[in-house]
Symmetry: none
Subunit: 196 residues, 4 copies
């Protein structure tokens, strides 16, 4: 990698990280591109060399950060070897919830802006084979667990949506209860949904 290419990558990273921190601290709406470039220490025009606009960089941040979390969670529970795959799913969920409890603003960012379309794009991204693998592994687990095999995608989707929604309202708004009180109920529901 030439010196020039390194420099380019460095600038892009700087913009990426600056935007991430600003989105977390001030919210997307209140973050201007001029804030991002100032923090990154580059000129305003440079931003447009790497990203289309604010929402472009935002999408990229969300994909990267949530992929990271998913990989981390997967690696943390993978080796546990629960006999019942349902319990693996719940351990996986639990890891993510605990993480988001500590990182509330990421949750806000992701929840308000993570669409299924974006998620699919992440899965299909060539550079993100790992996420695709995890996704397939989860499906396989559910199938081996006895779940109707024709609807695996849909059920997994529902699980993700349910967990996401509950995290968001419980952790951020404490509604209808604190997340720790919601957890047992949520896990009971997951078990019911996944049961044959």
């Amino acid at each position: 990698m030439s010196k020039l290419e390194k420099n380019k990558e460095f600038k892009e990273k700087a913009l990426f990280n600056s935007a991430y921190e600003l989105f977390l601290n001030k919210g997307i709406r209140n973050t201007a591109i001029s804030d991002i470039v100032k923090k990154a220490g580059v000129a305003k025009g440079t931003f447009y060399l790497y990203f289309k606009d604010k929402y472009d960089i935002c999408d990229k941040i969300i994909i990267e950060k949530s992929s990271e979390l998913i990989k981390e969670a997967y690696n943390a529970v993978d080796t546990d070897g629960h006999s019942d795959y349902t319990e693996t799913i719940i351990a996986f969920t639990d890891y993510i919830i605990e993480y988001l409890k500590q990182n509330v603003i990421l949750l806000t960012l992701v929840h308000k802006n993570l669409s299924w379309g974006l998620f699919k794009k992440a899965i299909e991204d060539e550079r993100n084979k790992e996420i695709e693998f995890i996704y397939e592994d989860l499906k396989k687990g559910l199938k081996e667990n006895g779940l109707e095999s024709q609807d695996l995608d849909e059920v997994l989707f529902m699980l993700i949506e349910l967990i996401g929604s509950i995290c968001y309202s419980s952790i951020i708004h404490k509604e209808p209860r604190e997340i720790d009180e919601m957890k047992p109920i949520l896990y009971r529901m997951i078990r019911k949904m996944v049961k044959k």
Copy 2:
């Protein structure tokens, strides 16, 4: 009601309806207050006599419109007399889904902005006794159906979140499938969740 009071109500209604249509057609972000007042045929300052800002009127629209839908759905299924309350819930859900299929933009509006906090405000609003009644009736039904009675609020909340998320992504993004393909799977999940 005096002529003056009638006029006031007329103006507020005009603003409300204009904002509603504009939010639907152009989205909230792209709707300026100047658009709203122009469409309503009142002066800009008049807007601020009735609403704090754009998000204030938006909240009020969402509460009103979703309350209307809930009441309509409730009245439509109430008299059916299913022996099993689960089926009542599903009929209720089905009514709402069919409605939102025809009114996609309301769905967008509501989904992106309806928080549980807002919903609770609606339930507790003195002028909205009917919504409170429906909410309590749903809980009663779930209870009689044999659901664990200590977690009724939470389970109902989860149902609402799940249904809302699935509507949003299936109807709007057709992801992971069209809503009509999702329905049977969703209803199967609801039955599982509500089962004793």
Copy 3:
């Protein structure tokens, strides 16, 4: 005085006092007529029955409040009976300075808006004979003290301007020094200026 006339006077007083307090607390620029009427408990239109605009009521407040202070100061020092009239002037000045030290915001209000023209209007106002008398008495004192009798008005004017300016910058901005440090220097200057 009829009940109606009493009511009228009552409303005007209410507006007057409300404006005074608001001007002190928020400054003139930041006080809107709607603030004044709200505090006074009258309708917006009523304001215009009694005053032309914000600056009209402001002028009236300044005249009234500064007249009050001058009378108070005059009554406080009048009886002292200094053999030298210069010392009477200084005692008079001192009383006013001490008062303004305790009432900084009145000072701001008055300094920024009290023009000589306004002051003359106050002196010539039929309802304010007392101020005119004080003014003439001060001149008489200066004259008896031996000051060139043809320039009495002008010298008195200069004294007032000098004292006013020093109060303003010393009390409010502490520039070039605190008022208590400025006092002896100021009084020395006054003595020099008034000396034959």
Copy 4:
């Protein structure tokens, strides 16, 4: 200086001069930023690249214009070589008064907005060494004249305030007399104040 830098300076100057003229002709309150930029022939946003707001540019104008006047006055009298420094001060004052007689609106602008704090900022400004030098020279002159040396700053301050106030009311309001009638009385007072 590059073409770009020249252009920048040109724009700032254009804004500065436009604002100055508008403030003089319409008053500060009645001058909108949109007026300034229109006159300067630049876009609205450009204003905010160079000045914080209307009051920022106003402060800068006042400092610049009064510095100019002071320098001009100083250079005009410096070489006179009065044996008595009091007469130098009076010549200096006279020069300023004559200037302000011809430039009434600058007087208005300066009087209403020139605070001692602003003046001190001007003196301490690195780019304004000349003003500082003049100020120190005036003090030195007073001292050599025999004035109590510990209060030089304060007495000079009083002189400035007195002269400023008299200019303002005499030139603008002709109160209590026309400036030309006030001058001899004022100069007599200055002599008394400065005398040992």
